[in-house]
């Protein structure tokens, strides 16, 4: 089968390119910043617990930041690919479906109302996860089916509701500083987060990744419609719930540790799709890797951006993502007219 061989060769090429890009971006992320340091010696010194300035900059600042950017990007890329496959809608994205806003609302509520205090430093993550989960469940309940137009409308409705509630939270902020802190946090950033956030994100990535990867066959079967998937013995209801749960874990945790970083989940699957012969099951891993690369690259740009105040990561991804989104709409329009 010539096509299979061609597809396999293309996937191999894609994996090689992504791996090479990942290595380059990690290296750049560790080497670039306001201070010039030697990455190799800094890393080695940090691993040997030496308290040199290179070791501190690499080990305590740039490594957590890089790892967090990679993990958040992977989570967003993977959840975008999973949602697009599940809903069979190329416009499905955690942001467009209300999950990001739900997570933001959940996490913001912790800032103000001290919810889940017994979870300690995990309180924001738990609230973010619950917020994303509740938003996605409401969205699916409202949509009633996987029909693309209804899903987008329901997502818009849930985003609007959560956005309004978030505005209420901001409106009643106890003081202007708290509001500024919350707004800045919502704009998205991976700086000054520390290894705790990295560990949390890695656990979320593991749980969400396993939940979603185990449903790869369902995503492939759903390409041909609910009826066909069900007739092939796939358990759609259970599998869909697990994918939604996995997505909520990924998005909820990402938003709670790094704020809202838009467009990554939407755009990454679009870039990867032609390389994997449009198979939604094969889209998952490459989307996670490209998501990691893109968020890490965006974070590098944020760091080297020559302005006094730091440009927020979420702002940059939106600035870069919006034109690409317009391009996708243009491509879709050309298909129909």
């Amino acid at each position: 089968m010539a096509v299979n061989r061609e597809n396999a060769a293309m996937m191999e090429r894609l994996n090689l390119i992504l791996f090479a890009l990942l290595v380059v971006i990690v290296w750049l992320s560790l080497s670039l910043g306001s201070t010039q340091v030697s990455v190799t010696s800094g890393l080695l010194e940090w691993l040997n617990n030496e308290l040199t300035s290179d070791a501190l900059i690499i080990g305590e600042i740039r490594l957590p930041r890089t790892l967090l950017a990679l993990a958040v990007g992977a989570a967003l890329g993977l959840s975008g690919a999973a949602l697009q496959g599940l809903l069979r809608n190329p416009l499905a994205d955690p942001g467009l479906l209300g999950a990001s806003q739900g997570a933001a609302l959940g996490a913001a509520s912790v800032f103000y109302f001290g919810l889940f205090a017994s979870f300690g430093s995990l309180a924001i993550a738990v609230a973010g996860l619950l917020g994303a989960l509740i938003a996605l469940v409401f969205m699916l309940f409202l949509a009633g089916s996987g029909r693309p137009a209804l899903v987008i409308m329901a997502g818009l409705a849930i985003s609007t509701v959560t956005g309004a509630l978030l505005a209420v939270v901001l409106n009643f902020a106890p003081n202007p500083y708290a509001m500024q802190e919350l707004v800045f946090w919502l704009l998205g950033s991976v700086s000054n987060r520390g290894m705790d956030s990295v560990y949390l994100m890695l656990i979320a990535l593991l749980i969400g990744g396993v939940l979603i990867a185990r449903q790869a066959t369902l995503l492939a079967g759903l390409s041909l419609g609910d009826r066909v998937a069900e007739s092939m013995g796939l358990r759609i209801t259970k599998g869909s719930r697990l994918i939604i749960l996995g997505t909520a874990v990924l998005v909820g945790t990402s938003v709670s540790v790094a704020g809202v970083i838009g467009f990554v989940g939407l755009l990454v699957p679009h870039i990867i799709r032609p390389w994997v012969a449009h198979r939604p099951d094969r889209l998952l891993l490459p989307s996670a890797i490209l998501g990691a690369i893109l968020v890490c690259a965006a974070d590098i740009i944020v760091r080297i951006f020559p302005v006094g105040q730091e440009l927020k990561l979420g702002v940059l991804t939106s600035l870069l993502g919006a034109p690409l989104f317009i391009w996708i709409v243009w491509q879709e329009r050309r298909r129909w007219f």
């Binding site: 089968m1 299979n4 069979r88 492939a220 759903l222 041909l224 419609g225 007739s231 092939m232």
Partner: protein, 242 residues
């Protein structure tokens, strides 16, 4: 050998107490006007509808089967032939192996060959004509090598060349020791290709038997509410509204 046996099978108000069986080597035609309950009955036989009554699949109570074991025994070719993504023909056909959890290239190649679509395996499914696409979807079901193939109007909207091509594939598949149930509107092709036909109307089974018994002028005229001319002595048989 009986592959499927339904007794007093009902699905809400849409199918009412239908009893039928499907034998090995047989093509059973499901006929009836729009809304007769043909698709609902097929979906119920495939385990996709909540139903009452009894359904034996390979001698086993349908309720005791896991979705996967049912999917290995029964393949469903629904009316809708849409793929969300621009998948290749080979990928669509290989998805038919999902119930088995493998990519058995022998089964896939056999399905491609039976459906005569080897010549365009390198094309994307959204680049194909309606007739070509119908054969790709048929090959997807054939790749799963089900003992029973349920096809819901597989020749609707196809030209006469593809109608015959699809019906020939179904006929040949049944003759190899499988069973085929096919819902269709073309009464002449039903008389030509089906061993037995089941005539339905408003969710009820009106008649079940060989084409000579069921495809009669009085029965068809009464069910379709138009006068019908039937000539089963001709080769091929002809059934047309007057």
């Amino acid at each position: 050998m009986v592959l499927i046996e339904a007794k007093s099978l009902s699905v809400g108000q849409r199918v009412n107490s239908v009893s039928l069986s499907l034998n090995k080597g047989e093509v059973l035609g499901l006929l009836g006007p729009n809304g007769a309950g043909k698709s609902t009955l097929l979906n119920a036989l495939a385990g996709l509808e909540k139903k009452s009554g009894s359904l034996l699949v390979d001698g086993q109570d349908d309720a005791t089967l896991t979705p996967n074991s049912r999917a290995r025994f029964i393949g469903l070719l629904p009316q809708s032939m849409q793929s969300t993504w621009s998948l290749s023909v080979t990928d669509i056909v290989s998805l038919g192996r999902i119930p088995w959890g493998d990519r058995d290239s022998e089964a896939i190649n056999m399905a491609l060959s039976r459906a005569q679509i080897e010549c365009f395996i390198d094309r994307k499914v959204d680049e194909l004509s309606g007739g070509e696409r119908a054969r790709v979807w048929l090959a997807r079901v054939l790749a799963g090598q089900p003992k029973v193939l349920l096809a819901d109007e597989p020749i609707a909207s196809l030209d006469i060349h593809y109608q015959l091509s699809v019906m020939n594939v179904l006929r040949a598949y049944a003759q190899e020791g499988h069973g085929v149930v096919v819902a269709m509107h073309d009464l002449s092709l039903a008389a030509r290709y089906c061993d037995r036909v089941c005539l339905m109307n408003k969710g009820e089974l009106v008649a079940l038997g060989n084409p000579q018994e069921v495809l009669t002028e009085p029965l068809l005229s009464s069910v379709y509410q138009v006068p019908v001319d039937v000539d089963l002595q001709r080769t091929p048989p002809v059934i047309l509204p007057r």
